[in-house]
């Protein structure tokens, strides 16, 4: 079910995915304006109350901007947009979005972003690592200069996950990079009540 940015209404959904793409042109800083969309007030409140939320790429950037997740995403180390298949390792399979994977499982997904370098201060990184809140790490090099090769993080309750690569481009081999990304979506489908 699509949610409209200008509505103050989550229309009773069981989970929210903030997809990739571009919002408001992202001219100021990726996600910096989108976080003020009316619907984000409802998303943030519901997320703090436990609603599962997955932010992919630009969605991850928005989740950081709205402080549902720590840190920020900045320009790639190479200063260019990067579109490539990457292998990531699932470090935390206990979040609402990763139960379908085994811990340490390496999967292939697609990274396509210009501002994908995850950054945070030392204390935040240390807390993420200590708390097991790093959800996924790049496993074949560091394509964008992310701190601790972090590809995705979760909040402490594991209902909010931000992921820089795109699992939705790995759900159909005909038009994507294999099917390794499916389990993000199967995980949440098995976690929410049917119907």
């Amino acid at each position: 079910m699509p949610l409209w940015h200008a509505d103050h209404d989550l229309r009773g959904v069981d989970a929210v995915i903030l997809p990739g793409g571009f919002s408001y042109g992202d001219y100021l800083r990726c996600g910096a304006i989108a976080r003020f969309s009316p619907v984000m007030a409802e998303v943030a409140a519901a997320a703090r109350a436990g609603l599962p939320v997955l932010g992919i790429c630009n969605g991850f950037q928005i989740l950081c901007e709205v402080h549902l997740l720590p840190g920020a995403l900045t320009r790639n180390a190479g200063l260019r947009f990067v579109n490539r298949k990457v292998t990531i390792r699932i470090e935390n399979n206990k979040t609402r979005w990763t139960t379908g994977y085994s811990a340490g499982q390496e999967i292939t997904v697609v990274l396509k972003s210009g501002e994908g370098a995850y950054v945070a201060d030392h204390a935040t990184i240390a807390a993420l690592e200590a708390g097991g809140l790093v959800v996924a790490r790049y496993a074949d090099g560091n394509p964008n200069g992310s701190a601790d090769v972090i590809a995705g993080v979760a909040n402490e309750t594991g209902n909010v996950v931000g992921l820089m690569p795109h699992p939705e481009h790995a759900v159909d081999s005909l038009v994507g990079a294999g099917t390794d990304g499916l389990q993000f979506f199967n995980s949440i489908l098995s976690a929410v009540p049917a119907g």
Partner: protein, 792 residues
């Protein structure tokens, strides 16, 4: 304020007033013609309209007389729903779907300001497709630059690629193919051609035509600013001198600035407007802005239009009527809607945060009437601006054409052969069309068999030189900056032969599209060169298993005022029109870019051809890399010793001369039929067309795009050099699924496509028996290192 504006009344009262027509790019004769049309001198605003509408870029005044052949020679095609003369051609692909596609140049702006020039090139072609009523679904880019290691290329190329990446990625359009080539002739005149593909239900075709007096004219999208004023007339329609004078910087205000997010909103807004049935006619605002949209909409509808420029939302309140008419501010559209539909129209625009303003209405006056603060500043017959003058420019075969043709690369081939080998027999001597194992056209047969260690070393070195040359090198440095996955329907993208998109998720109906061009072939013979560009794009589409349906082209040439250039142009158009007729694929539209020259030096004539084909089931598509080990590799087509304009002559010898490969369109048609049938019947697992660098480069690419090597023997009857690097057309390399070899060979025989088994896939090297062995790691290093080493 009104006193400073030149009105129609003023113009009638001051017939002798000097006007800057020459500075706006109009000749004295054209200016006199305008006075004749109006019966008085034009106002400043009218002069602005004529100057941009009669520019080469908008009026095609030097090319129209030639372009007519595309319609006159068009093969009968049941698929063609709209053709030349509309914003973009529309092709019926079955199941109720229609596809529209077009390629357009943004060469000059991209040299002056690479990032914005290339970005707005994408934006412009996307709006063309949108104006046909289609949802844009993919883009391709055909790029040519000066020598890769030239300092200015390092300024222009990264900016162009970043601009395309920025705009296309933000729009959410997958970039699924195109080309990248280098040659010193493009330094100072890079070619940045953008192609967009759109999809609609065939019943939803929109044609830009204002009809129905009383209907409202709505301008929507970004506000109008002073950017891009005179872009069409100043940048794209005259030779502009840039040598060391900082001239390109002085032109920078002529380049538009793009806002892809607004364009994304415009796309969604327009599609919802179409679905709501509130659009009578629509046109995009590109070159020549409001001047173009108003005159063309009114002219196409055979009606009049009254517009008040006071209503146009401005980003710069200092703009006067002439500037507003000429502005090329991006992300704007103009639509005609019935008065009763207007509230719904404006409501949809508001939903998408797209500013929309009624600026006038359709009239039955037959005149375009433009007012500014109550005064009439324009009063002209719209067709007089929209149609423009027509020139038959003098054309003359260049003086050096014969010298160029006679500079046969056969001498290089002979020199490359070991002593006592082919002994100077010219590989091109012989009766045209004559072919056979003993034909003189394959005169070096046996002369360079590869058994000599020295020969092997040379051939191996030549292959690595071709693979690591900027033209032959892996293009990932560029394509990695483009998103090809977005929208989730991309079945194939670079580096495969053509981009393939799924159109229908249930039936798996899809399209394939490729662009090709070869300036070296065209400078040697523009007639054959244009045909070879078409043949290669056609072959690339066929190599995915698709059936080619229609053609678009972007004709990049030097100054039409140079008779030599005009000859090249006339020959290329004639060649292309003739070849389209034989291949049965109509030209649906395109674009001409003249004045690609610096001083007296023109670029190589470079027609870039886009071919669109249809795949009834995209699951049958053929990739261009080896799929796995143990599959039989076959070569399809005939190999002659053809090195004129080849990558081998260019890279290894720095040579450009002779004649390009023989064009055999009947053979191209038969090859395409075999590839389509082989794909549909599941006989093939891969296909890759042979073009630049011949069989050797093709096999190397198959090894690298796939994940496995191969062991082959070169075909009999030709020498190793020819077998490896000749660029004979109408050829492809395929792998045949286990057990299907005999069936496929029968298919080839039935279609009279020569075929021979080269070997099998497997191993981790390109192993050409008795000639050369190169490991995949070494191939990869040679192929992938070049562009990152130059561009960082």
């Amino acid at each position: 304020m009104t006193s400073t504006v030149d009105t129609v009344t003023d113009a009638a009262a001051t017939p002798g007033q000097e006007q800057p027509h020459a500075a706006l790019g109009l000749t004295d004769d054209e200016y006199a013609a305008i006075i004749g049309l109006l019966g008085r001198r034009p106002t400043e605003s009218e002069l602005a309209i004529y100057s941009v509408m009669w520019s080469e870029h908008c009026s095609y005044k030097s090319s129209r007389t030639h372009l007519r052949q595309f319609a006159e020679k068009a093969p009968p095609s049941a698929a063609l729903l709209a053709g030349i003369g509309t914003n973009a051609g529309v092709v019926d692909i079955g199941q109720g779907y229609a596809v529209t596609f077009k390629i357009e140049s943004h060469n000059h702006p991209s040299y002056v300001e690479p990032f914005q020039g290339a970005a707005t090139g994408v934006g412009g072609i996307v709006r063309d497709i949108l104006a046909m009523g289609a949802r844009p679904v993919a883009v391709l880019n055909s790029l040519r630059f000066g020598a890769a290691d030239a300092p200015d290329t390092r300024r222009v190329l990264p900016g162009v690629v970043a601009g395309i990446s920025f705009y296309g990625n933000c729009l959410g359009l997958p970039n699924i193919g195109g080309e990248l080539a280098f040659d010193p002739c493009y330094s100072g005149n890079p070619l940045v051609n953008a192609l967009c593909v759109g999809v609609m239900r065939r019943d939803d075709l929109k044609l830009a035509r204002a009809s129905g007096p009383g209907n409202k004219v709505v301008l929507f999208g970004s506000p109008t600013g002073p950017d891009g004023i005179g872009g069409a007339s100043v940048l794209a329609s005259a030779s502009f001198v840039t040598t060391g004078s900082g001239g390109e910087r002085a032109k920078r205000p002529n380049v538009q600035v793009g806002d892809p997010f607004m364009e994304k909103l415009l796309i969604e807004c327009c599609l919802e407007l179409y679905a709501a049935g509130v659009v009578v006619a629509i046109g995009d605002l590109g070159a020549a802005g409001i001047a173009c949209a108003t005159t063309e909409l009114a002219a196409a509808g055979g009606t009049g239009m009254a517009v008040s420029l006071d209503q146009v939302p401005l980003r710069d309140p200092g703009l006067g009527p002439a500037g507003i008419l000429m502005s090329e501010s991006q992300e704007r559209m103009m639509a005609v809607t019935e008065p009763a539909s207007l509230p719904r129209f404006l409501e949809i625009c508001a939903k998408w945060d797209v500013p929309a303003t009624v600026i006038g209405e359709v009239t039955d006056s037959g005149r375009l009437h433009v007012s500014w603060h109550g005064d009439t500043v324009v009063d002209l017959p719209p067709a007089s601006a929209a149609d423009g003058p027509l020139y038959r420019r003098p054309a003359a075969r260049p003086a050096n054409q014969d010298k160029l043709r006679l500079d046969d690369p056969a001498v290089l081939v002979a020199r490359a052969s070991p002593p006592g080998g082919s002994g100077g027999s010219s590989p091109r001597v012989g009766t045209p069309g004559g072919f056979g194992g003993s034909s003189p056209r394959v005169g070096t047969a046996g002369g360079f068999g590869g058994s000599s260690p020295r020969a092997s070393t040379v051939l191996r070195g030549d292959l690595l030189a071709l693979l690591s040359s900027p033209d032959g090198a892996d293009k990932t440095w560029v394509t990695e900056q483009y998103d090809h996955y977005v929208r989730g329907n991309t079945v194939l993208a670079m580096p495969h032969d053509a981009g393939v998109l799924r159109i229908d998720e249930e039936s798996n109906l899809g399209v394939a599209i490729a662009t090709d061009g070869n300036g070296r072939y065209c400078v040697l013979d523009p007639y054959a060169g244009a045909q070879l560009a078409l043949a290669e794009a056609y072959r690339n589409v066929a190599a995915t298993g698709a059936v080619p349906l229609a053609v678009t082209n972007c004709l990049n040439f030097g100054s039409p005022e140079d008779p030599a250039v005009m000859w090249q142009f006339a020959e290329a158009v004639r060649g292309l029109a003739d070849a389209c007729q034989v291949l049965g694929v109509p030209v649906t539209g395109g674009n001409v870019s003249f004045y690609n020259q610096t001083g007296a030096r023109a670029i190589h004539p470079t027609p870039v051809v886009g071919v669109l084909g249809v795949l009834s089931d995209v699951r049958d598509r053929l990739p261009s890399g080896f799929a796995g080990p143990g599959e039989s590799i076959m070569l399809l087509g005939r190999t002659l010793a053809e090195f004129g304009g080849s990558l081998w002559a260019h890279v290894v010898h720095g040579h450009l001369g002779g004649v390009p490969p023989v064009v055999d369109l009947a053979a191209e048609r038969r090859l395409a039929a075999v590839l389509a049938a082989g794909a549909e019947r599941g006989l093939l697992s891969m296909a890759h067309d042979l073009s630049d660098g011949g069989l050797a480069v093709a096999l190397a690419e198959c090894c690298l795009v796939g994940q496995v090597g191969c062991a082959v023997r070169l075909p009999a009857g030709v020498d190793a050099l020819t077998a490896l690097f000749s660029e004979s057309a109408a050829r492809a390399v395929v792998t045949v699924r286990a057990g299907a070899e005999a069936t496929f060979a029968e298919l080839c025989a039935a279609q009279e496509v020569p075929s021979s088994v080269l070997g099998v896939t497997g191993g981790d090297a390109l192993n050409i028996g008795g000639v050369l062995v190169v490991g995949r790691a070494e191939l990869r290093a040679a192929h992938q290192g070049t562009l990152p080493a130059i561009f960082g």
